[in-house]
């Protein structure tokens, strides 16, 4: 179980919003961090604290296949994203980078920015005294997530870790 402060975004948060193209070629994800979400909320990246969570509506991460998007969210210390739905490439990329994504249909409409959530993975999220059920991921994805991402899973397969 972990507690997390909520930052709330809307529907269709695309990957150009999460990290615009002009910052994609920065050599490290640390360099990219200040520009996360800048087209929509330029102040947000500086305010996010490690352990915070993002709550959003439908189709989070739509758009390009840039993996810098989930990487930069992970690097900001976001513990998990809770959205109504995700775009498929972002979903895979997030899991491959060890970033926890949770689908929940009702929570978005009933919480506000700044609320604090208690998350019990694979079971429920509690906010303002109300419980929201959440599902578990398929086994093959859980394996990657639990290994800490696809790189670590492959290193294990190659006998390195």
């Amino acid at each position: 179980m972990f507690k997390a402060k909520i930052w709330k975004l809307g529907d269709d948060i695309d990957t150009d919003i999460i990290l615009p193209t002009e910052y994609l070629a920065f050599e490290t994800v640390e360099d990219m961090k200040p520009y996360a979400f800048s087209p929509l909320r330029p102040e947000l990246a500086a305010k996010i604290q490690p352990g915070d969570m993002i709550v959003a509506g439908h189709n989070f991460g739509c758009g390009s296949s840039r993996e810098q998007a989930p990487e930069v969210v992970k690097a900001l210390g976001i513990s998990c994203i809770v959205a109504k739905s995700y775009a498929r490439i972002f979903f895979r990329n997030a899991i491959n980078n060890g970033l926890l994504l949770i689908e929940q249909p009702d929570l978005y409409d009933e919480v506000k920015e700044g609320d604090v959530a208690e998350v019990e993975t694979g079971k429920e999220i509690k906010v303002n005294g109300k419980s929201y059920p959440i599902a578990s991921l398929p086994d093959n994805l859980l394996e990657i997530l639990e290994a800490g991402g696809l790189v670590k899973a492959m290193r294990k397969k190659n006998g390195l870790d």
Binding site: P20, L24, L40, C62, S64, S65, E67, I89, L150, M154
Partner: protein, 412 residues
């Protein structure tokens, strides 16, 4: 039980029948890595501890987004790509030939029935020749480089049936924009779009590419056409029984069927700043235009340039409009030079640039400023994609783009 086209392609590759929801590991025929993602894919490949690339001849490196380089760090991407190709014996490297999604079929790589993955979301484009192809991240690409395979979930399929004859000022771009508007930007998430009907049968492969290319804007995993004689001519392969078998069964099961009459389509734009914010051009009267962009993997092909040239012939773009034309590939550029298309566009006052992604991804020339309007033939109008977040991007067909350039406002 019958199968949809994507179920057949995946089933053929894994050697047994598959159904939507099955998680299967597929052999990968082609993997495409573009210049933006090269250094990251290489880094992940090395971190994973692989000592060789499983299938070097299946790998294609293409430099297009950063070409010619406009920022001081861009050339690092070319250098890392070249070194990786040299070290691991990758022969398929395109350094100045055009946009990755144009080249993957044009240069003879992806064929009907193939499975391809690329580090760019518009990898869905190769559905135009009856291949299953989709975008992935660079970490998964690194995994494919090392193993030659990838797990996928077999998608459900939405069938899109279009019959009849299109009005003269309507192109396949207007069709796919309308479909995205009807489905919404997430309406086909995780699913395959299968395009059928007499209208798509009558289309060129180039027009089909425009529709496959934008399938991802409705969230789709792929956007696919059954291959026919035109596909085989384009791919330079015989139209034999194995190709004819690549079509959906009559009793295939679809999650949804959308039916359209071609005669009902009208010219449309995707208005700022969502791809599913679709409005008829007739409702956009009086929107003044600062710039027009004709190009990209969506609409930078010879037929698109010719369409614009037919409209611009003997005319001139409006005095305050800059019209940028970027052919999708070197081959298209040469053909457009040879047949006089480039001359017409040049005489009409267009700015012709070298083949590549250009303005579509906010690189290259043509960046705009607050409150400026661009009519663009590419696939995305997201906030900040072509300059500041207050630039207004209207996505449109080459017909609407050319007519709007002359009028100085959005018209068709």
């Amino acid at each position: 039980m019958g199968h949809t086209l994507v179920e057949k392609i995946i089933g053929n590759k894994v050697g047994h029948e598959v159904k939507p929801g099955d998680i299967v590991t597929v052999p990968v025929d082609w993997c495409m890595i573009d210049d933006i993602m090269v250094p990251f894919a290489v880094q992940k490949f090395e971190e994973m501890g692989f000592s060789k690339v499983a299938k070097p001849d299946s790998v294609v490196l293409i430099y297009d987004h950063f070409l010619p380089a406009t920022q001081v760090d861009d050339s690092r991407h070319f250098r890392v790509g070249d070194e990786f190709a040299e070290k691991y014996g990758i022969k398929n490297v395109h350094r100045t030939d055009g946009i990755c999604h144009q080249l993957m079929t044009e240069a003879g790589y992806v064929k009907p029935g193939d499975i391809a993955f690329g580090t760019d979301s518009h990898t869905v484009t190769y559905g135009c020749v009856g291949a299953f192809s989709t975008g992935i991240g660079y970490t998964e690409m690194a995994g494919i480089l090392g193993t030659g395979e990838l797990w996928i979930k077999v998608p459900e399929t939405i069938k899109v049936e279009i019959d009849g004859t299109l009005p003269g000022n309507v192109t396949s771009k207007d069709i796919i924009l309308r479909i995205i508007g009807d489905l919404t930007a997430s309406g086909a998430t995780y699913q395959s779009l299968e395009f059928t009907g007499s209208t798509v049968e009558a289309m060129s492969v180039a027009s089909r590419m425009t529709m496959s290319n934008m399938a991802v804007e409705a969230g789709a995993k792929c956007g696919i056409f059954a291959p026919d004689e035109k596909t085989c001519d384009y791919c330079k392969i015989p139209y034999d029984d194995s190709i004819k078998a690549l079509k959906a069964d009559d009793d295939a099961i679809y999650s949804k069927v959308l039916r359209y009459r071609a005669e009902d389509f009208v010219p449309v734009c995707a208005c700022p700043s969502l791809v599913d914010n679709i409005k008829p051009v007739s409702e956009l009267k009086g929107v003044k235009v600062n710039q027009v962009f004709l190009g990209s993997c969506t609409n930078g092909r010879l037929e698109d340039l010719r369409t614009a040239a037919a409209i611009l012939k003997g005319k001139h773009v409006a005095p305050f409009v800059k019209m940028i034309v970027t052919p999708a590939s070197r081959k298209i550029y040469r053909e457009a030079l040879h047949d006089g298309t480039i001359e017409i566009l040049n005489d009409a006052g267009c700015i012709i640039t070298t083949p590549g992604c250009g303005l579509c991804c906010g690189r290259g020339g043509g960046i705009l400023s607050d409150d400026e309007v661009v009519v663009a033939t590419n696939n995305r109008n997201f906030l900040g994609r072509m300059g500041t977040s207050k630039v207004k991007i209207y996505l449109a067909s080459p017909v609407t783009a050319a007519k709007s350039a002359i009028a100085g406002e959005i018209v068709n």
